[in-house]
């Protein structure tokens, strides 16, 4: 079996876009320690500059996701212009309801109406930001949950979640969407209010058509077949977005494709199969923490990993797969599948990048660009952007 990328494949790859998160450029860490890095941005404008550098070198990252309040600015029009001048746009707005003392026991699910009100209002303000930035998606990830059995009434929280979301959803206009992320555990340890795709699906289905599920590849129990969920959500018409990253144990937020490249291949193969590739309904986003590695190259590596794996997935000979399945030829089908995965698409992609005026090796190009040295020198003083405690 010989497999090669065709012009048609390249045409598909040329359309690919991966939204990068503003917070990836700030410092992040574990509960034990956040290490600081020279050149780390000190405000949203510097984060967007870094994100634009990723796009400049890869052509893959035309939009930057924001996190509110981390990316609160006085003038979103200015931020938007700043982004556009650098060749990128402002993307998904992420609401943050996990870093205020009031949210210790929940936000949209809180038993106290006053705190629930505050959390809903925060989401309404996020939609104001979306109106200003032109962002389409409001992404909601909730830290809501509990640590001890008996601590809360899970059922009451589920009902209140629906009520809160309805109010938020009602505020959306035009093409705007609400995307609800689920997460198996952390920061809550006993129960999470949106722990699995089924819960997110049931919640957004009760809202309406512009409410969708966000699948973060790191938010599942050990052994979960994630590509099955991709398939199912595409089938049900409810896959709204991906948060890409990778994990060995928990929600490690490592570089996408780093921990289990074959899993990433299977996921993207299922996206292609279900019509989710380059489909505006299905946003591709990164959600990673570069705790110990350099941040900008970490993001470049990540979008390249998505691109390379998409190229491999495009190589899949679906007719051969179907024929093998029809005849019960397990090893034949698996051979077709592995052949695409094991094909080294990197040289062809490098050549193609050059043909489009991009560096053949964006990692090397970044290292040679002097950008990192410049920001290391310039960004001295002030507080580095960060998240976590």
């Amino acid at each position: 079996m010989s497999t090669q990328l065709t012009p048609e494949h390249f045409a598909t790859l040329a359309q690919q876009a991966v939204e990068v998160p503003s917070w990836a450029y700030g410092n992040s860490g574990t509960r034990f320690k956040v290490f600081s890095t020279p050149g780390t941005p000190r405000d949203p404008f510097e984060k967007i500059a870094d994100a634009a550098e990723v796009h400049r070198l890869t052509g893959l990252a035309p939009a930057v996701a924001l996190h509110i309040p981390w990316d609160l600015v006085d003038d979103y029009a200015a931020l938007r212009t700043h982004a556009e001048n650098l060749g990128v746009s402002l993307g998904t707005v992420n609401s943050n309801t996990f870093q205020d003392e009031d949210y210790k026991f929940g936000a949209l699910t809180h038993v106290d109406p006053a705190i629930r009100r505050k959390a809903i209002d925060h989401h309404l303000r996020c939609i104001d930001v979306m109106d200003a930035t032109g962002s389409r998606d409001l992404k909601i990830w909730l830290a809501d949950g509990s640590n001890y059995p008996g601590q809360v009434d899970m059922r009451g929280r589920q009902d209140r979640l629906q009520e809160s979301l309805q109010e938020v959803y009602a505020r959306l206009s035009g093409e705007q969407r609400l995307v609800l992320e689920y997460k198996f555990f952390e920061p809550a340890f006993y129960h999470t209010d949106v722990p699995d795709w089924g819960t997110s699906y049931a919640q957004v289905s009760a809202l309406g058509e512009r409410a969708m599920v966000c699948l973060d590849t790191g938010h599942h129990a050990p052994g979960t077949n994630i590509e099955f969920i991709v398939m199912q959500l595409l089938r049900l018409g409810k896959l709204g977005a991906f948060d890409f990253n990778s994990r060995f144990y928990a929600d490690d937020d490592l570089i996408v494709g780093a921990a289990d490249p074959f899993q990433l291949f299977r996921i993207i193969a299922e996206v292609v199969r279900g019509g989710g590739l380059n489909n505006p309904d299905v946003a591709f986003m990164l959600d990673q923490c570069h705790n110990i590695e350099e941040k900008i190259p970490g993001q470049i590596r990540s979008v390249l990993n998505v691109q390379e794996m998409t190229a491999r997935a495009l190589l899949l000979d679906r007719d051969a797969l179907a024929a093998a399945e029809a005849s019960g030829d397990v090893l034949g089908a698996n051979a077709v599948f592995m052949d695409a995965f094991y094909t080294d698409v990197r040289p062809a992609l490098a050549e193609w990048r050059e043909s489009r005026g991009l560096p053949a090796d964006p990692m090397a190009a970044y290292a040679a660009s002097g950008y990192q040295q410049r920001i290391n020198a310039e960004r001295v003083g002030g507080a580095q952007a960060s998240w976590g405690a």
Copy 2:
């Protein structure tokens, strides 16, 4: 805090019924070995006799679930009369599409229409059995899945599953229901066609009101919060049945409550909270394999475990829980919860059993009854009932 079972609690407990599976009385084992046991039934009539013994001693197990074709008989009216004479009824009918060579690559999802047809027809025949036995529920657990990535097109199988189920569902009449079980993995190792509650929920929701989800407590990924799923399915009105058992690692099918008694407590507490206790819509069933322990006492132990844990769950002071939650008193709420769990309800239950003409200690009563010695002597010759390879 002092907690005691009240007359009201006992009135609730008196209504409790746990369906026992006919196959629990036959030999079962692992892929490595099925050990044989003296006295093992050789036909469905003997299985029902054993199940009736469990009910006679506990008052908890008035119905026996069947498995077709394991429990195929020529005359279901005779089987039904046999059961009724022994004081029990015939319960849920389980379809078996995993032990025929044709089902190597699936049943209701199979890519070959002829095999799909065969599997659908098998289910229609199961409904014929239900008509004859008076059973209400058709329970479907599918072994369908694949072992290697690329082996099958998961999406096509999901669509065919819905088509197959629609045909089966259409055949139901009156009060009959279809209950679809999900399972994380095994016997398929790469993908399972109904791997999680979300898939079962999406599939049965597309069928209609009399299609429900079956939750087997052993069919989840490590770390899954099962009581959350119980809560959610009750909230969505789609929890049709439990298959109770327990597990340390995979689908171990151990005695319910044996591996993690506190988990069983939390599950039943959520059943009570959501109105699922003694609710005809939510069938309580066992699904266990007594590989190395004695089978009839194993079943007695199991229904007693469910009863004891239900008693503890009934003790929960929900007003105190709500007050603690309202004031953010984590330790107070947990104390209320643990107090119910740690209360030793066994002496009160023993006394209450006696007051109802049941043995205070059904395990001891079975040992003293001579039943096991009698069947050991009688059931010689013939093939012992079994399942598995």
Copy 3:
């Protein structure tokens, strides 16, 4: 089966001591947020005062573990006198090599000799502290590891770990011991340099007799049979200490016994079986994070949980267990085991506490004591003790 605590049991329970960690009284949290609490200590002296309150009310917590540099003071003699005046002693010294920028890529295993030197020197200074405090044990938990495959040479690190430990071990004197903790993952996500008991065992065995393994109950893979490891380490004479806590998913550091009380029962039953109870060679310690619950009551609850579960474990009828095993009576053996677990020892313990001049209900006694209100009022201003980023 009737089971009751005897005078002999109480004599055993009277000897029980659980070391509490100074850091449990400071603020802790997740990577997302550390919530602050009124009354949180601002220095080691205030931490010890809180720990002493736990001991005053329970009689169970006569020693306080320190963490260096968190508990650095100028005058350890003064700290020791402070502790003794409050009725407690200074216990295990924990070295901290995970919160300095230099340790980003490791400490005792670091590829750079200068950083390794710094880490070794930190441990030597910890032994200086031990000399001053009279502490017996140096407990080493290493955050060393890597996040990405290929990032480091794991073998080289393992060899350097042994070299570093040898230098630390050589500095111990008299009764002093080195106790090496293992941890499955976190904060490193790909590999941890001491990930399992086997590695800790191999490392300490190469050091000598006064080097032992520390077992933290939250540091294992899902499904691990922890009591088996307890049994094995006791058998090999290398179980030096416990860090007690509990977990649902990862290293949640919840209150011991909160997540799986039956597991705690099994662990303590194996400690008793192997001669590890009230054995000075096996230190009982807590290592928990009270992220959302009150800290002092959280510690009181924890030591009571250990005491209650020890009482249950003492009830185990080992002759009956042995007889059941000898006759292959699986259900009989399990019944004996569960009977001890399900026995409600709480009333007898409450009575016994009172007989010893302790409050029957230490949680209620703390709530009534006014201590929390006093520290809330007094500890205003200054920086609350904390850990993490």
Copy 4:
């Protein structure tokens, strides 16, 4: 980075040998069903013929492991001659103590001395077989364990295990070795008597120099870093053998490299790093179950997977890795590592195979050989070889 296989690499690859298990050619399955396959061997002679076919087409599988009593024959000299005539030798002898009714509660650990005696004697007879076949290694995998807490005294079993092994070990002569496999769980569900590498290491270390650990890649908890264990056992001089296979969830026994090819790469990279490649002390074996795929091609695929991944591991630029580690260049190190993994070694290997007189594509060569058709026709009647219940 351009990476190519060199003559030196090919010289290394030419020495590689992977022992294949006789049982892989018989029918196997799950506890639910063992599917039968045309052409399945009916006796050890036919199994060896099939194994020889794998070696003929790949040059990789010169030895066949036996399982006693599955491969009991009257005349081992005849079996040996049969093998040698077909170009292969008889390899490791595996003892089987899990399919006799007597072993329901254990074998080498059993509480009953008579059954322990029987199990020890079985191992002594296995060594007799080794004397006759010229096999070097006795591999012991024990199904010993328990299903319910309290069922057995784990400590007593551990001590008896050591006693039993000592008697077996004492019977070895010359170059013969004892290799002890560990397994996380199954067929026992609560505890396994040799559950982890630490236990196997402690047990074999107490025996002597010719007792080693066997690492089965499917026998670990979810998330376990297996290559770390490879590194550690090589460092401790106790890695005696591999049982290769792959898994998604439990001990799935799938084709090696099928579930997580990157994990296989990391494992072999660590073997190379630690001097375990083509080292007679470290036997490479397969232990797989071809439940639904064709068996002989399944084995061909497996040995090719090992070969291909070894080629990739040989490509690792260790100087570049070391330089990146020394400078804390996380992304640089990971890039070197991934570059070797992503390099497509298949064309070069195909060419090299042809240069050695082997088929470029052994899978295609088998399909074209007519062997399968011949055995399908010939092996009619008699009982197919199988294992399991």
